[in-house]
């Protein structure tokens, strides 16, 4: 329970359905602010009080789980480290992998819980064979199956997503109906552990070594300018490069080994293939044949048609029907068959720009 609308309504629905519900909030790592108080957006004292009040209203036990150390080690350090390697990580995927569906999951199971329920917009269905499938939430705009692609059968057998079959508008309406004080709260945005939502400022504060200026180069190797630290740029970025050239230039890759920002024209931007590593298959089985499916390369991207070729236990090759402009190393490549999430991996760096 975060004190927000989604997890509050999830808890209320379960209480209404007759489950014995235990509320848990994770106290995550908090960025230190100058007054010495933590100031990240989740688990502020206000949110903790909100969550506790909701649990009180629902007459369920409520506990705050100390998650600081594991969150700092597995998520915050990873976030910084990946940026240092020149890729743009998706901490929410790693959080579900290491925090929610490992640390929190095991803590819940140790309390003899039958299920871990969360306020995610996704659904779990059991097929006739008894296997579990991860499906998109019914609200396309809110669907969170992308960041849940790390789930395995053992998780889905013991996980509930009570709000996954409702659109967000219904969830807000239910919050009102249940008399939960969060009915009119704003949706949370951005990374939860940032005090101000500005990850570049965060990286400057916590890893200023990676904010070293370096060359802006064309694919040919020609140096045409200077950048202010690789973490300040994202793939596909056009504005703010500070170079003049005969045609518009876009960030197409980074080379952290040479601290180089690689730019190119619109034609250079985009690719029709990628390799994803650290693959998880929600069925627990690696497909033995190549197959056609749809792939999402960002949380907010649309699934697009692709041909998937498993390379080994942990890697896949994805061939898109059409080139995509913003394939970003570090983000998830999540594979769908219609509304069913088959699994996902982390997009590898394109070796063409870093091999030499």
């Amino acid at each position: 329970m975060s004190g927000g609308v989604d997890s509050s309504v999830a808890a209320a629905l379960l209480v209404e359905q007759g489950y014995d519900v235990i509320g848990m909030m994770m106290r995550l790592w908090a960025e230190e602010s100058q007054d010495g108080k933590g100031h990240n957006r989740c688990c502020t004292p206000e949110q903790m009080n909100d969550a506790r009040r909701i649990a009180d209203k629902l007459k369920i036990p409520f506990y705050v789980l100390d998650t600081k150390d594991v969150f700092r080690d597995k998520i915050v350090s990873y976030f910084i480290d990946q940026h240092r390697q020149g890729v743009t990580p998706n901490p929410c995927i790693e959080c579900n992998r290491h925090i929610r569906f490992t640390y929190l999951f095991e803590n819940a199971m140790a309390l003899d819980a039958d299920y871990l329920a969360t306020g995610h917009y996704a659904q779990i269905q059991q097929t006739e064979s008894g296997a579990y499938q991860l499906e998109m939430g019914v609200d396309d705009a809110k669907d969170q199956s992308y960041v849940l692609c790390v789930l395995q059968q053992k998780h889905m057998a013991r996980t509930l997503f009570p709000i996954g079959r409702y659109p967000k508008t219904d969830v807000r309406e239910m919050a009102r109906k249940f008399g939960l004080p969060t009915a009119s709260k704003q949706d949370s945005q951005d990374l939860c552990f940032l005090g101000d939502g500005d990850y570049r400022r965060f990286l400057r504060d916590f890893a200023d070594d990676m904010m070293q200026s370096g060359p802006i180069v064309l694919k040919s190797g020609e140096v045409i300018g200077e950048h202010h630290g690789l973490a300040n740029y994202t793939i596909g970025q056009r504005k703010g490069l500070g170079v003049t050239y005969s045609e518009p230039l876009y960030v197409i890759a980074t080379n952290p080994y040479r601290n180089a920002l690689i730019v190119g024209t619109r034609l250079d931007l985009g690719d029709d293939r990628l390799i994803a590593k650290r693959m998880n298959w929600t069925s627990d089985n690696v497909p033995d044949q190549p197959f056609d499916a749809q792939v999402k390369i960002r949380y907010k991207a649309r699934p697009v048609p692709a041909h998937i070729t498993p390379l080994d236990e942990t890697r896949v090759h994805v061939q898109f029907a059409e080139p995509l402009r913003d394939i970003t190393p570090g983000q998830g490549a999540v594979i769908y068959d219609g509304r069913v999430c088959l699994g996902g991996g982390i997009i590898e760096r394109d070796s063409r720009f870093t091999d030499n």
Binding site: P61, V64, E106, D112
Partner: protein
């Protein structure tokens, strides 16, 4: 997972109000609602109730009624004692001495005086049982020392201090001696002459009285600058209309505690020892914290290896067992208790603390259930730790 038995073992946190106490209080909410400051009959009857309560408490504490000041509870009593005595003795000195195992109402009052005005302080180290060595205490006092505050019975680890011995030494040096007796009241003697203290704080809800009321004993002749200013209530030492029902309740609760002292203490000691023996037998890698002998009869405390108390308490709560860690962990901020650290425990051991305190209605069945539950919960928490870290 849903418990079918509720076992409350957190009587050091608070106790229920004794129904006999409540009955004495009730008329003062409704019919006898007068303000003691009023010059009419309602005021006189309220004043009579308050002064009778004051005399009752004074008799039990072997002092004069004028030496009892009513407050809103233990924290206010500590604040008034320390701030009031420190301020009024600024002509004598500005040095305050405490220990690292005091209640935060004492430590934060002292640290605020140091931070915002011209005071400094010394903190006397304690040994592994949370006891202060008298010689070491005296070494930390100097010619500017005006006040020493040492807890009578420690809330976290139950250790009781040798009050008369400390008091004799301080009196010889003209240093005032305050004690937080919040945990002791109802179990240990509050005879201020025997204890030798100059200032002593109590709080009613720790001995089956109501919440929101306490008292400070202040030896005649000691000036207290009021820490709460306003009207001239309580001889100008504590402003604010007196809480008649609560004060009447506190006096009755303390009277009953003395009247039934022998039975209560025998009951506490027997059940506490059952708990202690049962847990030491059933749970591996655990040790008692605090003094093995000189401790509150109702109180036993432990540290468990490879356990964090936040998680342990969560498991116990779901079994219906209400206990306490050493420190407040409602916020999920699993910090080791500063008291245990000051006693020399390593942080990774201090984080696994558990406090169990028995009360009048605790039964042998409760204790047996708790021992089984704690043993099972410790096992689960240890197993979980092996999985997730």
């Amino acid at each position: 997972m849903v418990s079918h038995r509720n076992v409350y073992l957190d009587y050091s946190a608070t106790t229920p109000t004794d129904p006999r106490v409540l009955e004495k209080m009730l008329p003062y909410f409704t019919d006898e609602f007068g303000n003691t400051s009023s010059a009419h009959s309602y005021g006189r009857r309220a004043e009579d109730a308050i002064e009778t309560a004051r005399e009752t408490i004074a008799t039990l504490m072997n002092c004069r009624a004028s030496e009892i000041i009513f407050t809103s509870g233990g924290s206010e009593s500590d604040n008034l004692a320390i701030r009031g005595a420190a301020w009024s003795r600024l002509d004598v000195g500005n040095h305050l001495v405490t220990t690292p195992v005091e209640h935060s109402a004492v430590t934060r009052t002292v640290s605020q005086l140091v931070a915002f005005s011209d005071f400094d302080s010394a903190i006397v180290p304690v040994d592994k049982t949370a006891s202060v060595d008298v010689e070491e205490l005296l070494d930390n006092c100097n010619e500017r020392t005006t006040l020493v505050s040492i807890i009578y019975a420690n809330n976290e680890v139950g250790t009781t201090a040798d009050m008369p011995r400390i008091a004799a030494q301080l009196r010889e040096r003209g240093i005032l001696f305050h004690t937080d007796a919040v945990q002791s009241a109802g179990q240990m003697t509050l005879d201020v002459q025997a204890l030798g203290v100059d200032l002593l704080s109590i709080s009613a809800h720790k001995f089956y009285g109501p919440k929101g009321v306490g008292a400070l004993y202040c030896r005649d002749g000691i000036n207290l600058a009021p820490s709460q200013t306003g009207g001239s209530h309580e001889a100008g030492r504590r402003a604010g209309t007196l809480n008649t029902p609560a004060i009447v309740g506190m006096a009755e609760a303390l009277r009953l505690a003395y009247e039934e002292r022998d039975e209560r203490l025998a009951h506490y000691t027997r059940l506490r020892d059952m708990l202690k023996d049962g847990i030491l037998e059933k749970v591996s890698d655990c040790q008692i914290t605090g003094h093995p002998v000189h401790r509150l009869p109702s109180h036993i405390s432990f540290v468990f290896e490879d356990v964090d108390s936040t998680r342990l308490l969560m498991h116990l709560d779901l079994m219906g067992i209400s206990a306490s860690g050493a420190s407040a962990c409602k916020t999920g901020n699993a910090e080791p208790s500063s008291v245990l650290l000051a006693m020399g425990y390593a942080p990774e051991l201090a984080i696994g603390s558990l406090r169990l305190t028995v009360g009048q209605t605790t039964t042998e069945e409760d204790v047996a259930y708790a021992i089984e539950g704690i043993a099972a919960a410790v096992e689960k928490v240890r197993k979980l730790k092996r999985i997730v870290s």
